[in-house]
Symmetry: C2
Subunit: 523 residues, 2 copies
């Protein structure tokens, strides 16, 4: 298909592009999220592959949502139909999938850094080729994009960055750079030449501008305006069926009654069921843009000034603020409440987005508390509890991207017995997987997974065999904590660990992935 | 003292400042690192506390090295004499020490985020006060400072940022922003007003400019030029006595013989013994500036383009690139070699800088290898090994800020017996603490701490009791890995864990801290 493309005359490109978009939409419309991000760059994608000699020339995308048309054009049109399903291709850019996916991309703001690496490697061996990165205006708020522009801008290498500006990522773009439209002075201050094309959906004009840019040398930014079509319905959840719905309901009530609480989210409102709250709670509900590190330290600043900050963040993006959590929040003992969304397996987004590391990370930090609700109503109870009784230090409330159906019940308690039997076997679990388990064992649920409650050790010592269930990977976490606790018991109970393996788990439905990775006998 | 200061006339401030600096230098000169960073802002410090009503007004410093004069002026002059020693005050800003230390600071680029938090909290309750952050030009290369400027610049709050520009942090400032001196267009593009004072060491002029700025509204940057005095001798290590010396020696040899290797370091060359190499290996030895996230993804880009990237980074700053390690390097299986310096307790820098989390973090990541040399010569052997045989995937070589004296020996082997006895007790250790232990036990050293070597389990099964020694904190790591390994053995050996507690450990000499935190009986 890419060979066909390169044989065309420029005036044939609009029809080619339209046909390409139609084919892609026929395969994936209504099946995948954020299709509009890709359709918005259909013309750019065609123009880039038309003027570049990919995959010899390097083309790096920032975040995968821009990549569906690129995938179709580079040999994966038919594969689109099974994208994000088990065995199918990924929704993101992925090196193993195609040589045209030069660099993987699932998290934002990495593309210019990767481009810097290519420049350094190419210069080292004297390799000449075109090197291009495409970054959206939403990703430009991430500090890593600044770090990369500032560094690469000082090196003098030949590199082209396309700034694809359409006022948003998943959430609207925030920040002064966007508000003031001051991209030109910004990138020029960082050593880049600047050019602008308002008609970023005009493939013929794009080809002209790109050819022109590729003849120049040094670090160059081409800023284009594109239009995102309105393809996806706004995300909504059937009342009561997801953790996200319960969180949003609770937050609405809490913000109404506790005017001192401020919720920050680094551009993760839309996917979280919080969208409608944004307008109703202007000064309490703050979308900071894609800037996790800044958001966490800002929350620490609010707490230091005596306010009540809550941070809403996905587990996988919390990884970007790990040092700020350690250095600015936990070390200072500041009372920041974290709503860690997407904790656990996330399903179709796959390995770039699974929230399987944070539980181990967080439990290793001195003085933190970590809570995992087993269903939506317990999540609501936890949030209400924290609203009423502000914590004295850092608290992390982790909940998955998962359905939470059936009988909802429960108030917040640090632990509870879900079932009891006469056996000497104990099951200990935490979080949403607990509701998927059989009901005929001694089953203790830890809503507060860390620190352990005082009598936990004496309960464990009553059993001969302890099974630990944890939707997380790694050597520590709940399993590691229990291992340390039982080591000195006489007799020492045996423990059996059921947690995710130390591999990157592919995309697929969450329940399927759980079954495939060790939780089958108990589900 | 601060009351005395505020009673002065402006023309008395130069003498006051000179006296203050003299007093500080008399107490700490030659005893502490980076004194010049503080002396460079002596006039600024005096001027700020003169015009501000601290601690009611908020003053936030970026990184602690600017804070010694501030500490002296705010009640800690006598305490300076014992700064960075056990029981003495910290070398960094610390909330517990003084209400004048509004926000803790040990890592760079956090101040404007904290300032954002104060603005949001104050606006919430309608509180009026002055809010000021001081950030050095070196910290401006960190992406978080951009995130904060871009966000706070869009909010319209009254806030003043002092950009203290003296061409460097510990290493010289890198990047286009500094090279082009384009701070004005940069901060204006982010919604900030801009003013400049070239005479940033003139306390009377500073007072005038600060008063002027404080009468204005909205987000404002005052850019001042200051001069760093030449106070500290360049860091050098006695040959053969530190891990840093051995690393630098090895790297010199390796870069000479392997022209394809490129070493990146985000502004951590000076403290690492690498300073002299910078000039000799221009295109192989790249200081990227303070931008850990960018540096790691750049290395991934080099690897994706077929190059051979090595990243030199302190353990505590690796925390800032955790997501880039996961998402850009490890998930993509790219062969990036990390030299993780300052892994373990760092001594006088204290809790903001101890490298006690990364071992647990790294061992939780699928497919990585982690190596810990027990002395400098083994470190050299490891580096030579990796230079000769490029790894197929991510590799982390961790070494402490520690002396490595006495008999050096050893080539690289994944594990080795350091001593043997007839008992049924086994000691397993990793890294530099191993050399501090007695020599009369069965003592197995894991140079490759992860993954475990194939026969490790069968060796463990020969013993009744296994003591695990690990200079790290957390529930996983080596201890967690061994716990999982021995669980199913029959009979199951008992294991006893000797690792750092889950608390933030204060500053003090490394050996003292080890003794105080659980390693005493074996040292």
């Amino acid at each position: 298909m890419i060979t066909d493309l390169r044989a065309l005359e420029p005036q044939q490109l609009p029809a080619f592009t339209k046909d390409l978009v139609d084919q892609v939409c026929a395969r994936v419309r209504d099946k995948i999220p954020h299709l509009e991000s890709s359709v918005a760059v259909a013309e750019l994608t065609v123009a880039l592959h038309y003027v570049l000699n990919t995959p010899e020339d390097v083309l790096i995308w920032d975040v995968g949502h821009q990549g569906y048309i690129h995938k179709a054009l580079t040999g994966r049109m038919e594969a689109l139909a099974n994208m994000r399903t088990p065995g199918g291709i990924s929704g993101f850019l992925k090196r193993e999938e195609s040589p045209f996916d030069f660099f993987g991309a699932g998290h934002a703001s990495t593309s210019v850094s990767a481009l810097t690496g290519v420049c350094l490697a190419d210069r080292k061996v004297g390799r000449e080729r075109n090197r291009v990165a495409v970054i959206g205006d939403g990703s430009m708020t991430g500090g890593q994009s600044f770090e990369a522009l500032n560094h690469l801008g000082s090196l003098g290498h030949d590199a082209l960055v396309i700034l694809n500006d359409n006022d948003g990522s998943i959430d609207p773009t925030m920040g002064a750079l966007h508000d003031h439209g001051s991209y030109q002075s910004y990138v020029e201050s960082l050593g880049w030449s600047y050019a602008y094309l308002g008609e970023g959906n005009d493939v013929v004009q794009l080809v002209g501008h790109l050819k022109n840019q590729l003849q120049k040398s040094g670090p160059r930014v081409l800023h284009i305006r594109t239009k995102r079509p309105d393809l996806s319905a706004p995300k909504s959840y059937k009342p009561g069926t997801t953790f996200q719905w319960w969180a949003a309901e609770a937050i609405r009530d809490i913000l109404t009654r506790h005017k001192d609480i401020q919720v920050l989210s680094p551009a993760m409102f839309a996917g979280s069921g919080f969208g409608p709250l944004r307008e109703d709670f202007g000064d309490q509900f703050i979308d900071t843009g894609i800037n996790e590190a800044h958001t966490v330290t800002t929350a620490a600043g609010i707490a230091a000034a005596g306010g009540r900050p809550w941070v809403h963040i996905y587990s996988t993006f919390l990884q970007r603020a790990y040092d700020q959590i350690v250095h600015d929040v936990v070390l200072q003992g500041l009372p920041v409440v974290f709503l860690v969304d997407r904790a656990g397996l996330v399903g179709a987004d796959g390995p770039t987005h699974h929230g399987v590391f944070d539980q181990g990370l967080l439990m290793d930090l001195p003085g933190v508390r970590v809570w995992n609700p087993r269903n939506g109503e317990v999540l609501r109870a936890m949030l209400q509890e924290v609203a009423k009784n502000p914590p004295a230090g850092p608290l992390f409330i982790r909940y998955p991207k998962a359905r939470t159906e059936g009988e909802q019940r429960g108030v917040f308690a640090p632990y509870e017995w879900l079932s009891k039997s006469d056996s000497k076997v104990l099951w200990v679990s935490t979080g949403a997987i607990s509701e998927l388990m059989k009901k005929d064992e001694n089953h203790l649920h830890l809503a507060q997974v860390w620190p352990f409650f005082n009598d936990f050790g004496s309960i464990l010592s009553n059993f001969e065999e302890i099974h630990v269930f944890e939707e997380s990977t790694g050597l520590g976490g709940l399993g590691g904590g229990i291992a340390a606790l039982v080591e000195d018991m006489v007799p020492r109970p045996k423990y059996v660990l059921h947690k995710l393996p130390s591999t990157f788990i592919e995309h697929g439905p969450r329940l399927q992935l759980l079954k495939d990775h060790g939780f089958d006998p108990f589900l």
